[in-house]
Amino acid sequence: MIRPPLPRWLLLPVTAAVVFLGVPLVALLARVPWTRLPALLSAPAALDAFWLSLRTCALTTLVALVLGLPLALLLSRGKGRWAAAGRTLATVPMVLPPVVAGLALLVALGRREPLGGWLAASGVDVAFTTTAVVIAQTFVAMPYLVVSVEGALRSAPDDYAIAAATLGASPTTVLRRVSLPLVAPAIASGAALAFARALGEFGATLTFAGSLQGTTRTLPLEIYLQREVDTDTAIALSVVLITIAALLVAATARFSRGAWSQP
């Protein structure tokens, strides 16, 4: 069956959209000093920033999974006001401007604040550490995982969990062998999104964790610095970020396509 065609004038805004999104990226790629690229990217500062970003983002994704999956499970079952409040809480960091997120973390965990002060007195130093980077990244990235997984859990039919229970599976076994595997694609794409968001995290990290090569200066912070020092390096590193982001988004798209079909 042939679908009725879309109106021809749609081509106008579509072209504008493609131009709008594509031109900055193309322009950036055009400005890349391709001959100097290997040298620029192998500079110690650049490598440090790259590995620091990968390390912290991987850790962040792990923390997001450990904390976010249970939350998503609970929210997917919840009805009523508490669930709505929980869902709002889980999603708010997504829409906060990063610098606001950084401020919030600062006010919560800063040295001069009650909680932060108590931590410092107990010998737990959060400020200016890689831990602070992971905290900042997790705060902004976890919602992406929670939202992705909760959506999938909500739309999954109850039959499977009920069948599993009647077959003798305890609640933990049902989770482990049925419910979570069934939303594995959503978990994967949520994790990829969380990783990508953590990778691009800038404002919260800058405000809360500081910027020191190898400790807290992630890739975006390095780019921010190089913007003032050597534009070519900034552009080269930007291309690295864009490439990783593009790969992650492509992986996400592939995962969501591979969702289980109903028998």
């Binding site: 021809r8 081509l11 072209t15 504008a16 910027s211 090569q213 400790t215 610095l225 020092v229 050597d230």
Partner: protein, 248 residues
């Protein structure tokens, strides 16, 4: 199909061309690119310039010196450029962006600031900084390069926990008490006022930043630009700069 494509591209280009006009109601604009640390002193002087030249609006773009040079290279319209160090002005000159020789109009020195009350008991660039949270500017930005130079000149090894890209970020971290100490410009310390305690660095003169100002070659307001430079280098300009903590 291709006709629609052309129409689409044309529409897109038209949209970009329709950028809002910069000029107000027939006023002449004087665009000044100035290093961030020159805000608010230049802003004050800009107002005085407008008063002395009716019909002229002075528009400032305050940013990192290197970023400003990039923008000039990319063809951003500006009439005057004031840089926080010689290195960046040289970059601009080498690129042929600056008219007759740029001139140094002031300097800035570095100083140590601590949160009000000096909770960590810092006494200077000495052992009192050991195991304390020191924040400085990153090497590569004018403030940071000066810090590195100063440390080398004084023979001290600094172990900061954070090297910021903007000197204002150093300031805010000290003001909020997140950091135990920070190295900023004297002008920043003055601007922070009562929020911080200042500990002058002995020998800070060894690493003063030279601020240079020059007329942008592509400027269409050559005489106005020159007049502005004169204001900055003249008595009034120097007075305002000194009050803020420059020079000395």
């Amino acid at each position: 199909m291709s006709r629609q494509l052309c129409a689409g591209l044309a529409a897109a280009l038209l949209l970009t061309a329709c950028a809002p006009a910069s000029s107000g109601s027939g006023n002449t604009d004087l665009v000044v690119f100035a290093a961030s640390s020159l805000n608010p002193t230049f802003a004050t002087l800009g107002k005085e310039f407008e008063a002395a030249h009716p019909g002229v609006t002075v528009r400032f773009s305050f940013d990192g010196s290197a970023a400003l040079v990039d923008q000039l290279k990319a063809g951003a319209p500006a009439d005057v450029f004031a840089s926080a160090d010689k290195a960046n002005m040289d970059k601009a000159s080498t690129a042929g962006l600056i008219g007759n020789s740029p001139v140094q109009f002031t300097t800035n020195a570095l100083t140590l600031i601590v949160p009000k009350g000096n909770p960590a008991g810092i006494t200077g660039l000495d052992a009192s900084l050991d195991n304390k949270l020191l924040v400085v500017c990153a090497d590569g930005v004018p403030c940071g390069t000066a810090t590195k130079k100063l440390a080398a000149a004084l023979g001290v090894t600094l172990k900061p926990v954070s090297e910021e890209t903007k000197v204002t970020d150093v300031r805010t971290k000290v003001e909020s008490g997140q950091a135990d100490a920070g190295i900023v410009y004297v002008t920043d310390a003055k601007a922070s006022g009562g929020k911080v305690d200042t500990l002058p660095i002995a020998g800070a003169d060894k690493a003063r930043n030279s601020y240079l100002i020059g007329r942008v070659l592509a400027s269409k307001q050559a005489s106005l630009a020159a007049a502005f430079v004169t204001l900055i280098t003249g008595e009034r300009g120097q007075q305002v700069l000194e009050t803020a903590g420059f020079g000395g």
